[in-house]
Symmetry: C2
Subunit: 106 residues, 2 copies
């Protein structure tokens, strides 16, 4: 039960695409990750996923549209929706997702 400073958390992250759990909230984890370039297409069968951009720009590609997020913007990818996150060129992103959500989506 301590406060979290997002700048400090991102400064502590050395690798891309490796979310760090920074909080636990009911059935969710709050995570921080640095995203650079393109990830892979995937979906989460049973979980919505929130992406909040803290720094940089993040493109979320979906099959029917793309959403470009900049600092102070968030988007919730609904369960089952295929998406591919792309750091442009790099983004610091806060996630909120169910503890059951796996990295690549099941």
């Amino acid at each position: 039960m301590k406060k979290i400073n997002l700048t400090d958390e991102f400064n502590s992250i050395q690798s891309y695409w490796e979310p760090k759990i920074v909080g636990e909230l009911n059935e969710d984890y709050v995570k921080c990750a640095k995203l650079k370039g393109e990830f892979v297409w995937h979906s989460h069968k049973n979980e919505d996923e929130l992406f909040l951009v803290v720094k940089g720009k993040l493109l979320i590609k979906m099959r029917d549209k793309d959403v470009l997020l900049k600092r102070g913007e968030f988007f919730i990818v609904p369960k089952g929706v295929e998406h591919c996150p792309v750091g442009q060129p790099e983004a610091h992103v806060l996630f909120v997702e169910l503890k059951s959500t796996t990295k690549m989506g099941e």
Copy 2:
């Protein structure tokens, strides 16, 4: 399924202490609220509550300690913990809380 710009959301809020639902994520709502001055002491019996400060400063008073949050910092008040949020003098705050969480806590 649209992106949310937090600055736009806060600009649209005219009243203090009236959270606006800006997103729905699994069993949670994402809410924005402008907080000014002191609220009331309360607790949420079954729900943790996340406070992320987007602008200004927010003091979260608890019975055993206080936590002062500034922009880019968050704190999760665990279920059952009495707390009193205080905008110092004003804060723009993003919340994530279970849909079952009521305003004053039950």
